[in-house]
């Protein structure tokens, strides 16, 4: 008997196939997104963390003015493992190759193809360099008069993102790295020694989160022993190491909330439909009870539809997502050199992608139908469930002042609160996704245009390895020195920022307040993103710790600098040097309006902002994400508005039929029924904006904890307008599709009402 009843399931699905396909698509998108997001973050994490752990990525890099005499003793005192390696830059006709001796305890290389360095004369190249210069395994390469044989390609943990200098922002064209044997390195007497430190007990899941105290101790020990330290940089600040973390963090933090939102939206709409179905079948259910069916049998029968939809959507989404992860991971890793470990998927996440929608939708459907299925056979056979009930909002509404069309449309919307909630929340979600994509893209553009690069009037910045002094001269006209220190607020190690000491007559920086007025250079000015992250205002005192030596300082904030993304405190150079115990006139960086002829060996990095377009390459991934997010939002909006329109038409069949009998013209019926969703769509869109800002700021705040850069969500009215137009184009298209369905409803439905 139950089997006979179950034949209905397929028939019910066939009758409303458009609607059920919509629901399956919505669930599919949820599980698709879940698998893609967790797959990307999981695989990136596996590659990045796996590589850093297995190849013992350094926690700190530094250089000294002379070789450290007793590394073993220093290791004992500091609790760190320290390894020296040698590096030498070889100029080539069309680029530059940095030769490195292989790390044996820290940063040891991973051979990507070919074999490792086995004998003198062997060289491993980074794959980008090899590709760029048309070199392949087996080719010879001449470096400083010595011929090496390329035996393979390599990745090393301290050059995941290949930057020539520690303070560079973009890779240098034609630059790459190569690993040669220590014996070969000895043939280059000009090679410099660089140290890598690895701290036992450092948190490995994110780069160097809890090593500030240990690095400060090591710094103190080395300073006590009279070493002059340069290029002191922990892994978190080191872009060669920390660049891929932004992708991992953003994907990881978005995977659960976004997919759960899809599943919950599906729960509402499936709940509404199951409720309608069970109510419509009230008399049949009562009759079946009377004939001996058990409650459990009927519950299983009615649960079969939502569970089937959820399982089909969840499974299809998960399966479709599997082949999509690799190309996305590959595109995200295009800038990085990591050993490919193959894409893997967590069986737990795969199971969750199917079971989560089944559990959520199954449970919500069960709760919805339980109330009706608990009634007695007699109650159900009376047919009360089929009669339209008036909810409290409908009852409370007094619409006497409105014209009939408005009254009708308002009543049509408030007739089903769950349906209205689904529409408003669904459109909000779609608008939120759409606005987030556009706003994030625009914000990144603004940060690029008006962020750190726009701060500099002078486009060139030379970072020196060691502290220099103004009194020694060498700063030409059109250039100015500044000094800087990497610090973190006391008690909040994740929020790192630069403390910059600048000259009182500095013109190289633009420091304006929120009204655009220049701020005095002889006071302490904090950038707005940092002030907002630390909840500081003018007059407040900030206590912070130097990352270099662990010393604590305090400053009173005088002004807030209008800025995008940057986290900096600017103060007068003299006060800076006095406070940090450096001689007056000390500086480490020179800003310049033009190229300066400097000894390259003294430089730790050059930032060249003359060609700003080059920085846009960093945004390629963002553009890809925005394009896919826009497509996703349009799809979600289409499904949601289509589902609601289809529901409204179905729930209003007899009214539509009646209106036709009364002589309503096609367009009049169309307007009355299909225009009624317009205000809900408008409200949904309007809610999307604050939702997006709340979501975006929370997400960016979370990313900021890892990436230490707060991307502000800057709303561009043009993009809001474009999003609005897109949502309403979707609404209009869906309405027209609904119009065809509406035209098919015949007058006989009302004429036969109650007679069947």
């Amino acid at each position: 008997m139950v089997m006979a009843l179950n034949k209905r399931v397929w028939r019910i699905l066939k009758e409303g196939k458009g609607r059920y396909i919509g629901i399956v698509l919505l669930i599919l998108l949820g599980s698709f997104y879940f698998i893609v997001a967790t797959g990307i973050s999981g695989n990136l994490e596996k590659m990045v963390v796996g590589f850093s752990e297995e190849h013992r990525q350094e926690d700190l890099t530094f250089s000294t003015d002379r070789p450290i005499e007793d590394i073993a003793a220093l290791e004992d005192q500091s609790g760190a493992q320290i390894e020296a390696y040698r590096q030498f830059d070889v100029k080539l006709p069309d680029g530059e190759l940095r030769l490195l001796s292989p790390g044996t305890q820290i940063n040891f290389p991973a051979v990507l193809s070919g074999r490792g360095v086995e004998k003198p004369g062997d060289i491993l190249l980074d794959p980008k360099f090899a590709q760029m210069h048309g070199l392949k395994i087996g080719d010879p390469i001449e470096l400083n008069g010595k011929t090496f044989h390329i035996v393979g390609t390599v990745a090393i943990p301290n050059y995941v993102y290949i930057l020539k200098n520690l303070y560079d922002v973009l890779p240098t064209s034609g630059f790459g790295i190569g690993i040669v044997s220590s014996a070969d390195m000895a043939a280059f007497p000009e090679a410099v020694t660089v140290y890598a430190a690895y701290f036992d007990g450092a948190e490995r899941s994110v780069p160097a989160e809890n090593i500030n105290a240990q690095t400060a101790k090591l710094h103190e020990l080395l300073s006590e022993q009279g070493y002059v330290l340069s290029e002191w940089m922990d892994a978190k600040s080191n872009k060669r190491i920390s660049m891929p973390w932004g992708n991992i963090t953003s994907m990881k933090s978005m995977s659960f909330p976004v997919s759960t939102a899809f599943f919950l939206l599906s729960c509402i709409i499936v709940g509404v439909m199951v409720m309608r179905m069970v109510k419509a079948d009230g008399v049949v259910i009562g009759t079946l009870y009377a004939q001996g069916y058990r409650r459990g049998e009927l519950t299983r029968h009615y649960l079969a539809i939502p569970v089937l939809l959820a399982a089909a959507g969840g499974l299809a989404g998960a399966l479709l997502a599997l082949p999509c992860v690799k190309p996305i991971v590959d595109s995200m890793l295009a800038f990085y050199i990591l050993p490919g470990q193959g894409i893997t998927f967590s069986p737990f996440n795969l199971a969750l992608a199917v079971l989560m929608p089944v559990a959520l939708i199954g449970l919500s459907s069960f709760l919805v139908m339980r109330k009706i299925l608990q009634k007695t056979a007699v109650e159900l056979m009376k047919g009360d469930e089929q009669k339209a009930k008036v909810n409290f909002i409908e009852r409370a509404l007094r619409l006497d002042g409105f014209n009939f069309n408005t009254k009708f449309q308002i009543r049509e919307q408030v007739r089903s609160i769950p349906r209205l909630s689904f529409l408003v929340l669904g459109v909000s979600a779609a608008s939120m996704i759409l606005l987030y994509g556009f706003t994030y893209n625009y914000s990144m553009d603004v940060v690029m245009e008006k962020g750190a690069l726009a701060r500099y009037v002078y486009p060139l910045e030379y970072n020196f390895k060691e502290v220099r002094n103004i009194r020694d001269g060498g700063i030409p006209a059109g250039a100015e020195p500044y000094n800087a220190l990497r610090v973190y607020p006391a008690g909040r190690e994740a929020v790192e920022f630069y403390l910059v000491g600048m000259q009182p007559d500095s013109v190289g920086f633009i420091l304006n307040d929120s009204q655009g007025n220049p701020l005095p250079r002889n006071q302490v000015n904090i950038t707005e993103p940092l002030a907002s992250r630390l909840k500081l205002k003018a007059g407040d005192t900030i206590h912070f710790v130097s990352k270099l030596d662990g010393k604590t300082y305090s400053l009173i904030i005088d002004g807030i600098v209008q800025a995008y993304g940057e986290q900096v405190i600017y103060m007068p150079l003299d006060a800076f040097n006095r406070m940090t115990g450096q001689p007056a006139g000390s500086y480490r960086t020179v800003l310049s309006s033009h190229e300066i002829n400097l000894d390259q060996s003294q430089l730790a990095g050059v930032m060249d902002a003359r060609n700003r377009d080059a920085y846009k390459d960093l945004n390629q991934t963002t553009t890809l994400i925005v394009a896919s997010v826009t497509a996703l939002a349009v799809l979600v909006a289409t499904i949601i508005i289509f589902l609601v329109t289809s529901l409204i038409i179905d729930e209003s069949r007899s009214t539509i039929s009646l209106l036709k009998i009364f002589g309503y013209r096609k367009k009049e019926v169309w307007k009355l029924i299909l225009n009624s969703s317009m205000p809900a769509v408008l409200i949904g869109f309007c809610l999307g904006l604050p939702f997006m800002l709340a979501f975006g700021n929370t997400l960016n705040g979370y990313i900021a904890e890892t990436m230490n850069m707060l991307i502000p969500m800057i709303v561009n009215p043009l993009y809001v307008l474009i999003s609005f137009v897109l949502i309403f184009v979707v609404y209009e298209v869906t309405r027209r599709l609904g119009g065809r369905k509406l035209a098919k409803i015949s007058m006989s439905e009302a004429l036969k009402a109650g007679t069947e």
Binding site: N405, E412, E668, L751
Partner: protein, 231 residues
């Protein structure tokens, strides 16, 4: 003649051709009440649907107030229903999520010269229930709303499909009395279908439909007030 039906034929194809109307002829003067009596399946509803412009004929003509509605295209039929016809159904067909007054406005909203909602509500005795929803009314009250909705446009022709079919005797008398009052007050021509011969006494003309043909036409010289109808 206000309503003239001549040689009306209609068949339905339900796998096989089933003739429903086989040359029906019927005439009514303006302002009359007509009752079509017949058992289930005699073609009453099909006939009234064709006269109301919601169904099409296979042959024959229907003229209402001098206009041949069987010649009208779909759009013209919409205008005909909009301007000329009021409908009353056995199961009321009220819009459940609209109040009593709003249900009446469904029709007045598209009428050129509708009566005032309050006026028709007063005429059907439901002024105090204008803000109620249909579910909050008895069957008789719901049918009164349905009558108010039909007459608000002041139609030339009022078509009633078993208006008392779902009501008890007392409530039915009230509804029929109301229809008589509407006929007298607004001058609407009323054509009512029923299988209840007790109602025939209140009509000017009674058409007995049997097997898709008019078997008998009776013109009542004296009409019984609805309040005295028995069955």
């Amino acid at each position: 003649m206000f309503l003239s039906v001549a040689n009306l034929t209609k068949s339905y194809n339900t796998g096989m051709i089933t003739p429903v109307l086989k040359g029906v002829n019927l005439e009514m003067e303006k302002g009359q009440i007509g009752v079509i009596l017949g058992p289930s399946g005699s073609g009453k509803s099909t006939l009234i649907n064709i006269i109301g412009g919601v169904d099409r004929t296979d042959g024959g003509t229907v003229e209402v107030d001098g206009k041949c509605i069987t010649d009208l295209n779909d759009n013209q039929l919409v205008e005909y229903r909009r301007e000329c016809v009021g409908f009353i159904f056995q199961f009321y067909n009220l819009v459940p999520n609209l109040t009593v007054a709003e249900n009446i406005e469904v029709v007045s909203n598209i009428s050129k010269n509708p009566l005032k909602t309050d006026e028709v509500l007063s005429a059907v005795g439901l002024s105090d229930k204008k803000n109620r929803f249909p579910r909050e009314l008895s069957g008789g009250e719901q049918q009164r709303v349905s009558i108010a909705r039909a007459i608000v446009k002041n139609p030339k022709l009022l078509l009633c499909d078993e208006p008392t079919g779902a009501l008890d005797l007392e409530t039915s008398r009230g509804v029929l009395a109301l229809l008589q009052k509407v006929n007298a007050r607004f001058g609407a021509t009323i054509l009512m279908i029923t299988h209840n011969s007790g109602i025939a006494g209140m009509a000017h003309a009674v058409f007995r439909l049997r097997g898709g043909e008019i078997a008998d036409v009776v013109y009542n010289a004296e009409r019984i007030p609805a309040g005295r109808i028995e069955w």
